[in-house]
Amino acid sequence: MSAATTRTSDQTTAGTTATRRTARFHRPGWARRPGAAAGPAGTPVSPSGGEKLLEAIGLGKTFGNGVRAVDDVSLTVGRGETVGIVGESGSGKSTTAKMILGLLAPDEGDVFFDGVPLRGLPRARMRALRARLQVVPQNPQTSLNPRLTVRSSIEFNLRAHGAERVARRTIVPEMLERVGLTPTHAERFPHELSGGQLQRVAIARALATRPDLVVCDEAVSALDKSVQAQVLNLLAELQADLGVSFLFISHDLAVVEHIADQVTVMYLGRVVEQGPAAQLWTSPRHEYTRALLAATPGRALEEAAGRDRPMIPVQPSGADGGAAGSGTAATTGQAAASRPPG
């Protein structure tokens, strides 16, 4: 990939961050992580002006059945920043997340984490890097082992990243308090906790290794709305305190608009729009983004409540302009998109 060679300068970001990291993680027995090659370089910046933490360039993935799941997707996550990916099912947002997490090798393109290309990274180094690159999956009911206590689940992750016993014993209660639970929750089993509490445990588990980036894949989608707000507030608070970056994947536009600094809108494996969250909401440029906004229920709700959200002009695109039960829409099973975006 030519993109890889042009971006080699990104591999030299670690200088100052390495110092900050060691300070932040200085604990007896804490595994030392291989940082990126030292030496300050030009200061790569993310779109919002921050220091670049993660960069994905021209990612592409075609599955065995010929499905082009992801096509030329590039995005950047700055340090301490939240980037949202919005899209409907089949838009490739989860496949993109897997490639960013190093769980799936891209066919084209490269992912750079703190300047280090994930492609061809030796297993041991990838494993070490995963401590800094964590994930909060959608459903804590299935992502937490029902036969392990909360403590064991969190310790499992810590142990995998080389934290020693003493460190583990202190980190678990600390993390539980951090996410709004109490140390007594450590001895509970998943079935004893509510959905919101479980997702807090999943967040505590991810944050236990002090990651730089946490990928939240539909992390609040399964929660009741009254609880979802608590978890969204928690994520914002954790980011303010710890400086962690989030890559926040969701199908819920309102949630992404709320939590993200930058938003990437995906459709059929491609990026159709990228920009600051607020701007995307008030002045979407791509037809698909507009259709998505128009289809999001709750606009009536806000009108009922008398809030002033700028009215978004809706372009009749594909099914959108059609009457109820319009057949064109039905046959594709998709709304706005009888034609590829671009």
Binding site: Q230, G298, A300, G333, A336
Partner: protein, 383 residues
């Protein structure tokens, strides 16, 4: 299989007063009164629906809005008596005046699908993967109209598919479920549901499994079918946006009880019950800075394990001591609106007379302007 039930055998519960106070409405197709559903598991029982009462009129959509464990789906399914021997359903469910809870299992089978139809959440799970769509529609027709010939049934199946917005009904009728998209499958399920021209359509989270753009189309289809067929719709949802968009009326459920009921526009413009107000305030919306969402502390109680008194009291910002012991009844607070909260509703017998006039709940909420106000909200919202 017969569902054990006793009709109106209970002493009138708190909700009884409400319905009695409400004059009989014209065009009421479905009248639910003091509905209680209790599940038994061994020696334990859990009362999941507790004294739910509402009327549903012809051509109207009532949204049952609630979080997980609120009893909204169980309410809907209890109306159709879809539970087995482990469920005890009491109260009264009248369909055009006929008591459904008294019907024999056989006669109930004749009502289900013909006069009350169900659209379940997951179209994939509710269609038979091994049979073509057309055959699955004609099956229902045959079940309720034995004399109908097979060929006529096939023609009718295609007509029904056209009715639900499918352009090429011949192809779809010949397709297996896996050959169709999620939106198309849900249309097929809706075609089956409306095939016998039911008086009441019950839709249990009909769009939850769908993408938002497809969801919008399906909600439009429901509105369109209602206009054309004049049926009444009871739709269950956890999505406040969907309830606001597609409901004429909304019933907010919490812990097995209806806590607030009224015209959707009014309820969302000026929620009265602290739970409704809190739920609306908790939604992320533009202009709310990150990290400052007004969440409701705690989480909803699991189904059947409801605290004594008002089940919302432990999470409620305006709860009084009496709320923890007395379960407030659903009381009319305005023509056509009722709320189960003595704090916001001084007319309630359990509230002290000195309570100042209740406007909106005292929760700082962008979603709760002080009083009812004319609203641009209309069914379906602007398109």
């Amino acid at each position: 299989m017969s569902t054990p039930h006793t009709s109106t055998s209970r002493a009138p519960g708190p909700a009884a007063a409400t319905t009695a106070a409400r004059p009989a409405q014209p065009n009421v197709v479905l009248s639910v009164h003091d509905l209680n559903t209790t599940f038994a598991a061994g020696s334990r029982t859990s009362n999941v629906v507790r004294g739910v009462s509402f009327d549903l009129r012809r051509g109207q959509t009532l949204m049952l809005l609630g979080e997980s464990g609120s009893g909204k789906s169980v309410t809907a399914r209890s109306i159709m008596r879809l539970y087995g021997r482990n469920a005890t359903i009491t109260g009264s469910v009248r369909l055009s005046g006929q008591e459904l809870l008294d019907l024999s299992a056989d006669r109930m089978r004749g009502v289900r699908g013909a006069r009350i139809a169900l659209v379940p959440q997951d179209p994939t799970g509710s269609l038979d993967p091994l049979r073509r769509i057309g055959a699955q529609i004609t099956e229902v027709l045959a079940l309720h109209n034995v004399e109908r010939l097979r060929r006529a049934g096939r023609r009718q199946a295609e007509e029904l598919l056209r009715l639900v917005g499918i352009n090429d009904p011949k192809r779809v009728a010949d397709s297996y479920p896996h050959e169709l998209s999620g939106g198309m499958r849900q249309r097929a399920v809706i075609a089956i549901a409306v095939s016998c021209d039911p008086e009441v359509l019950i839709a249990d989270e009909p769009t939850t499994a769908l993408d938002v753009t497809v969801q919008k189309q399906i909600l439009e289809l429901f509105a369109d079918l209602q206009d054309r067929l004049g049926m009444a719709t009871l739709m269950v949802t956890h999505d406040v946006g969907v309830a606001a968009e597609a409901g004429d009326r909304v019933g907010v459920m919490y812990a097995g009880r209806l806590v607030e009921e009224g015209p959707a526009a009014q309820v969302f413009a000026s929620p009265r019950h602290p739970y409704t107000a809190g739920l609306l305030a908790a939604l992320p919306s533009p202009g709310v800075p990150r990290g400052t969402l007004r969440s409701i502390p705690g989480s909803p109680p699991p189904a059947g394990a409801f605290p004594a008194g008002c089940a919302f009291a432990p999470r409620c910002p305006v709860a009084r001591d009496s709320c923890r012991t007395d379960d407030p009844p659903l009381v009319a607070v305005a023509p056509d609106r009722s709320v189960a909260c003595p704090v916001v509703n001084p007319a309630s017998p359990s509230a002290p007379p000195s309570t100042p006039t209740a406007g909106a709940v005292d929760i700082p909420s962008p979603a709760a302007p002080p009083a009812d106000q004319p609203s641009a909200l209309s069914k379906g919202g602007p398109r």
